[in-house]
Amino acid sequence: MLFEKVLYPFDMRKASLNVKPYILKLKEAGCKEVHMVYVMIPSEWGLLSREEFDSQEKLEALKGTMEEGFVDGLLRIFNKMKEISKEFEENGIKTRVVIIPGELDEVLSWYADKYGMKLVAIGITSESLSFFRIGKIVDVIKAVKEPILIVKTPEEEDGEV
């Protein structure tokens, strides 16, 4: 089952949204489950232990330890991802939406192992692989053991979703 379980890293950019049609199409080749993962990078969100925030309640509970504005931001991301994931469910693909703190490459590789993901489908911009921004995406490509589908979006077409 080569495409049965797809790990779909999502960063609220159009480049990652552009991966969605490919995953939907892969249903015809056996995709049954999609895990949409937003990685909370420590430098952006402060230090938190690696935990799987997969419900509004779990995120709300963070209000005791993090600034309310940050948590509201995470809730907005979570709800937006839930909204985007509806199309998968409507097409018969089981979906999980989760926010996890940590470094992108470490979280994706750990998550793919833990849940037996068969494919990682990631959206990047053309500039993500240029000399000056080579780090993050190449680290992901190197860290993840599963096959990885990379969908590129021109920089000028990228933006927040």
């Binding site: 049609p21 490919y22 080749a29 490509i141 990379i150």
Partner: protein, 156 residues
């Protein structure tokens, strides 16, 4: 939208490339119809112009030293075996045997053939470039205009 209609399958005939072939076959279920199979050779005993097509350019083949001719014939046989495998599952196949820089030639054929996706095993030829930039795969990802599927290990 023809997301997977025409695929480029890049092979170095390694075990990992064989695994990638399984993915190429599987994508037929998602609308794939045509495969462009590419192997790039960069280790002949003579220098040829970058991008030379060793299948189409028969005159170039004739001027190669005997040892290279044997090597090229063997590569063409391997490509033809892959063609048979893919045709057996109902896919239309076109073969390329290119000489030159590996990622550059893969991307060049992808552009020329206007493929929807490139499928390849993650091979990391070139220690220095691996350290500085990544592997052949990374260079293909960097320069390709279409999505790239990199296969890194055998499906368990």
């Amino acid at each position: 939208m023809p997301l997977f209609r025409k695929a480029l399958y890049s092979t170095d005939f390694s075990p990992l490339a064989e695994v990638a072939l399984d993915y190429v076959k599987k994508l037929k279920e998602a609308g794939e119809e045509e495969i462009v199979v590419v192997h790039v050779v960069d280790d002949l005993s003579v220098e040829l112009p970058d991008g030379t097509d060793l299948i189409k350019e028969k005159d170039v083949f004739k001027i190669l030293p005997e040892v290279d001719q044997e090597y090229v014939v063997n590569l063409i046989e391997k490509l033809n075996s892959i063609k048979e495998i893919l045709e057996d599952v109902g896919l239309k196949v076109k073969l390329y045997l290119k000489y030159g820089n590996i990622p550059k030639q893969i991307v060049s054929v992808a552009d020329e053939e206007n493929v929807n996706i490139i499928v390849m095993g993650a091979h990391g030829k070139g220690l220095l470039s691996e350290i500085l930039l990544g592997s052949v795969s990374t260079d293909v990802i960097r320069h390709a205009k279409c999505p790239v599927l990199i296969v890194k290990k055998r499906e368990e």
